[in-house]
Every structure is written in structure tokens, then in C-alpha cells.
């Protein structure tokens, strides 16, 4: 027998960047992450340094992006805020995604009562608005980064549980799973060897989308004073603080608003691009 004939040519990785979504999203996110990392070692000014005399200066008048009501350098705060917002969101999504995925594949493997139970748990979580549960959590264990992470993660769990359960159920109906059962493999092995690798794409795509959402939620929590405590700058609290200066110092609100919008946009674009890239049905298309 001759050499196998590939059904389709292998995807050349650089071709991925012909897709505008992926290219735009990746560029935005990589830059943001780079800025966040730089902020750990260097910022134009210490982000917490107050110079009341220079308060509320417009961009370029004092500092690159101006100063806030305490005379702090907005550019520096945004940089550190990038780190705080991104790392908080990333941690929350990591927790939510792992827990949710675990629940989802478990439900799919067990079906029946387990599945019903997982769905009920999702319902329960959905029933309590995220801001309310965040506030309860804040009252219970105090506010701060940890609380924000947990509060966001809790809300991600049912999302991931549902997505993975749906995807995993499809995998479970495949013949290769039947073949694995014929090879005497149980639910755990099948989940690890067949289900998870095959739903990984969908989980990855969902992760990028949820990262965007997490940034928005983090902003909302900070807006309500439930995020990281001052002086640690977060985009959400910067936006919240800026609210009352909207008329007098609009850049205060515009800068963090843009940062949030840009990163959410970036993550969504990345998610979209990945979805297109990883969806086998898209392979043959332009």
C-alpha cells in the first residue's frame, strides 16, 4: 500500500494570521499582557504617588495621560491596572473554567441524576445575581482581590459546566467512545483520553470570551467598591472614581473605559478568531 494521502493539507500556522479577527485580537492581548508585565518592574511614576498640586491635569499637560484627582499619574495607574485587571480575570476564569469543566464532563459522563443535579446547581447560581453574591461574599470574607476572583469564578462555573456538558455529550455519542468502551475503558479514562482532548477547542474559545466578560465584571465590582482595595489601581475603580469628573476631567473616565473596552474587544476577537481557526468545518472555507 502506498503512502497515506492526506485528506487536507496541514494548516500552515502563519496562515492563521490571514484571519483579521485573530490577528487583531492577538495583537491587542499580547500588547496588554506585555504592558501588564512591564508594569511589574517599571512605570513612569509610582502609581500611588500623589501630587495634589498637579491634580486633574489633562493628558500631556502633566504625565502622558494626565493625572487624577489626587495628582496620580494615570498612565502608570493604567499600566498597573492592566496587571491587576488581567491577573484577577485570568485567575477567576482559570478557577471557573476548571471547576465548570469538571462539573460538565462529570455530568456528561454520568448523565441522569448527576446531570440533572449539575444543571440545578447552575440554576441556583444563576438565580442569585452576580453582584448580589459578590456583595454577600464581600460581607462574609471582606473585599479584595480574592473576593473578586471568587465572585467572578462562581459565576463562570455554570457557564463552563453547560458548555462542556453539551460538548462532552456530543463526544460521548461518537463511535470512538463506543470503541473505547468496547476496549473495557470506564468513564474516567474515556473522559481523560477522548472527551477532554476533543472539547479542548471549545473550552479554549470559551475561555477567551469569558476572559473579556471577567474584565467587565471585575470593572463592575470595582465600580461598586467590591474589588481590590486602594491604592492598588484597577480599571474598574479608576472608571468608578472618574465618574463624577466626567464633565470636568473627561480623560479620567475615557482612559480606563478605553482600556476595558479594548481588552474585552481583544479577547472577543481572539475568541472569534480561534473559533474560526479551530472549527473543522471552517477549514475548507476561505
Amino acid at each position: 500500500m502506498n503512502a497515506a494521502t492526506p485528506a487536507t493539507g496541514r494548516t500552515r500556522p502563519w496562515l492563521a494570521f490571514r484571519r483579521p479577527n485573530l490577528a487583531i485580537g492577538a495583537t491587542i492581548i499580547v500588547s496588554l499582557v506585555a504592558i501588564a508585565l512591564v508594569s511589574l518592574v517599571w512605570t513612569p511614576l509610582p502609581p500611588a504617588k500623589m501630587q495634589i498640586v498637579h491634580k486633574l491635569k489633562a493628558p500631556l499637560v502633566h504625565g502622558l495621560l494626565g493625572t487624577d484627582q489626587f495628582g496620580r499619574d494615570i498612565a502608570s495607574m493604567l499600566m498597573v491596572g492592566a496587571w491587576n485587571s488581567l491577573s484577577t480575570s485570568a485567575a477567576a476564569v482559570a478557577i471557573g473554567a476548571s471547576l465548570g469543566t469538571l462539573l460538565g464532563v462529570f455530568a456528561a459522563a454520568r448523565r441522569g441524576l448527576t446531570e440533572a443535579f449539575v444543571m440545578r446547581v447552575s440554576d441556583v447560581i444563576f438565580a442569585v445575581p452576580p453582584i448580589l453574591s459578590a456583595m454577600m461574599l464581600g460581607a462574609l470574607i471582606g473585599t479584595g482581590r480574592f473576593t473578586a476572583i471568587i465572585a467572578i469564578a462562581v459565576f463562570m462555573v455554570p457557564v463552563f459546566a453547560r458548555v462542556t456538558a453539551g460538548a462532552a455529550l456530543q463526544i460521548w455519542s461518537r463511535d470512538y467512545v463506543l470503541a473505547a468502551r468496547g476496549a473495557g475503558k470506564g468513564g474516567f479514562l474515556i473522559t481523560v483520553e477522548h472527551v477532554l482532548p476533543n472539547i479542548a477547542n471549545q473550552i479554549i474559545v470559551q475561555v477567551t470570551i469569558q476572559l473579556g466578560l471577567a474584565i467587565l465584571t471585575e470593572a463592575g465590582l470595582s465600580f461598586l467598591g467590591l474589588g481590590m482595595p486602594p491604592p492598588a489601581p484597577t480599571w474598574g475603580r479608576m472608571l468608578a472614581d472618574a465618574q463624577t469628573y466626567l464633565a470636568t476631567a473627561p480623560w479620567l473616565a475615557i482612559m480606563p473605559g478605553l482600556a476595558i473596552a479594548l481588552s474585552v474587544f481583544g479577547f472577543n476577537m481572539l475568541g472569534d478568531g480561534l473559533r474560526d481557526l479551530l472549527d473543522p468545518r471552517e477549514k475548507g472555507r476561505s
Binding site: 497515506a4 461518537r174 479514562l189
Partner: protein, 328 residues
């Protein structure tokens, strides 16, 4: 029968209960008291229209599902009363090949892993080197190359994939392979290759096959014996060629007549029938009676059981003798 058959299916039934969201759940009998044996080294074909319970039978024989009633004896052991551990060991001796060569291979595993998967059942876990060797062996014996072990399924054509699936089924050197529509998805030229391969395997390794298909020609080509199913019941069995040449059940006749062939040009003469009303598979009579040109009053009253009509030939029809006498 002096020695006991390799596979002995005894009055096997399977009901599917559909839990409708509303009202009482209702059950469909997908498999209805099917009894059948497969001897060592034998290829037994099962034919029948879509939905007649062929796949259900295959899944039960492969112990991937549990019957509502009845037994499957493999090598004398009742598969459904074995402890899970013993059943797993037993799986070494029977494996399954599925219809869709695209759906039955995990797209994210390399061929080596796919083929080696059933080795999981062995009591002694083989070493990596042993596995590699075994897989290479298998790939070569199904007409692929050892070098293919490092590739992914999408790099193969449909026929090659089906070979990989067959290699997987053979890796534990089973005594029985259950092939559910194993060639139906393949093109003619590839189908012939795979059929030849199966026949080779039977010859060289003495593997038995329970070969399920809806294509009469394929069964005719490969099987020693054939079972015809209709609505969950086995309606006729016997040596393949005889069954299609001289059916003892009117349904077999209908099937044989409808099968297109390049030896028959134009339209068959007697094809002026009106479509049959759907008949309920009630316990009261023969499920085929509404479509049956030979139906008599008894067919509605009494359900025909599978019985011996001629040596080696069984049919479940009240008028089987008439069919036998009238010849073709």
C-alpha cells in the same frame, strides 16, 4: 451439534424506553427474541432494512448494552452475568468495527494509540516496545505500513481508516469480530479491498465475524450463513447463497428483488405496488403481513416462529413451505 458454538445468542430482546417529557413513557422493542449462533471461523451475515435492530444486536453482542431479556453466551460464559472485571478480560476475545470510518477514530489520537486501545483489557499490561511492535504488526496485516502509526486519522482516506479500525479490533487477537456496517460507507473500489481483507483474516487467523449490513450483495459475497431480520425479529437464516437464491420468507424475497444490480437493466416488471401502510409490530401476528403478497388469515392471528424448513435453513413464516415448494 457436538461442540458448543463460539457465540450463542439466546432469545435476546431489547426494549428501548423513551422517556417522553409528557405522559407515560413508551417502549419500543428493537430486538425481539433473537436466537443465533456463530461457530469458530464462521462469517455470519445479518441483513435487514434500516431500523430493524441490527445495530442493537451488535451492541448487545459486544456487551456495550444490556438486554431486556435473554442471554449472550460467548465461549460458554453468559456475558451479562460476568463480574465487570471478568467481562473486561473477556473482551480480549471479541471486538467491534463500526460503520463510519470518520466517526469511530478519535481525531486527536495518533494511529498507534487508537490501535493499541483495546490492549487495555489484557491482564498483563504490555510494555511500550511490545505495544509498538504489536501495532506495527497489525497495521501491516491490514495492509497499512508500520510507519503510519505516527499519523493522525485525518491523514487517511476512508478505506484506510476502516483498515485502522479493523487493526484496532484485531489487536487483541480476538476470536470474534462484530462488524456493524463495516463497509457500507466505502466506495466500491475500496469496499472490495476491505472485504478481501476480512476474508483473508478469517482464513489466516480463524477469526469469526458477525457481519452486519443492509447490502445483500456484500453478505452474499462474504458470509457463510446469513440471518435476515425484520422489525427486530430474525425471519430467516441459512447458508447465504441459498437464502438469496431461494428465499423461504417473503420478506427475503422482497429484499432480493429490490436490490439493484448491473445485471438487470431497466425497471423490473412487477414493481407496481402501492406503498404499504405502516404496520404495528403487535404481538398478535406477523409484522410483515401488511406488505406480504402471500398473507393469509392466520398471519394476522398467530405470530410465526422461526422454525426449520430445510436442513440448515430456518424461516419464520406460515407459508414457508409453499415458498419452498414453488421454488423461485
Amino acid at each position: 451439534m457436538s461442540k458448543s458454538p463460539l457465540l450463542d445468542i439466546r432469545v435476546l430482546s431489547r426494549d428501548y424506553v423513551s422517556h417522553s417529557l409528557v405522559g407515560a413513557s413508551h417502549s419500543t422493542r428493537a430486538l425481539d427474541e433473537v436466537s443465533l449462533t456463530v461457530d469458530g471461523g464462521e462469517i455470519v451475515g445479518i441483513v435487514g432494512e434500516s431500523g430493524c435492530g441490527k445495530s442493537t444486536l451488535a451492541r448487545l453482542v459486544a456487551a456495550l448494552d444490556r438486554p431486556t431479556s435473554g442471554h449472550v453466551l460467548f465461549d460458554g460464559d453468559d456475558l451479562f452475568s460476568l463480574r465487570p472485571k471478568d467481562l473486561m478480560r473477556k473482551r480480549e476475545n471479541f471486538q467491534m468495527v463500526f460503520q463510519d470510518p470518520f466517526g469511530s477514530l478519535d481525531p486527536r489520537q495518533k494511529v498507534e494509540r487508537i490501535v493499541a486501545e483495546p490492549l487495555h483489557v489484557l491482564a498483563r499490561r504490555p510494555s511500550r516496545a511490545e505495544i509498538r511492535e504489536k501495532v506495527a504488526d497489525m497495521l501491516e496485516s491490514v495492509g497499512l505500513q508500520a510507519a503510519h502509526a505516527g499519523r493522525y486519522p485525518h491523514e487517511f482516506s476512508g478505506g484506510q481508516r476502516q483498515r485502522i479500525a479493523i487493526a484496532r479490533a484485531l489487536v487483541t487477537e480476538p476470536k470474534l469480530v462484530i462488524a456493524d456496517e463495516a463497509v457500507s460507507a466505502l466506495d466500491l473500489s475500496v469496499q472490495a479491498q476491505v472485504l478481501n481483507l476480512l476474508m483473508d483474516l478469517r482464513e489466516k487467523r480463524g477469526v469469526s465475524f458477525l457481519f452486519i449490513t443492509h447490502n445483500l450483495a456484500v453478505v452474499d459475497c462474504i458470509a457463510d450463513r446469513v440471518g435476515v431480520m425484520y422489525r427486530g425479529r430474525l425471519v430467516e437464516t441459512g447458508p447465504a447463497h441459498h437464502v438469496f437464491e431461494r428465499p423461504f420468507h417473503p420478506y427475503t424475497r422482497v429484499l432480493a428483488d429490490a436490490e439493484p444490480s448491473i445485471e438487470r437493466f431497466g425497471r423490473p416488471a412487477a414493481s407496481e405496488r402501492s406503498p404499504p401502510p405502516p404496520s404495528p409490530a403487535d404481538a398478535g401476528g406477523c409484522a410483515f403481513r401488511n406488505r406480504c403478497p402471500l398473507a393469509i388469515a392466520r398471519c394476522a392471528a398467530e405470530r410465526p416462529e422461526l422454525r426449520m424448513i430445510a436442513p440448515g435453513r430456518q424461516a419464520a413464516c406460515h407459508r414457508a413451505e409453499d415458498m419452498a415448494e414453488n421454488g423461485n
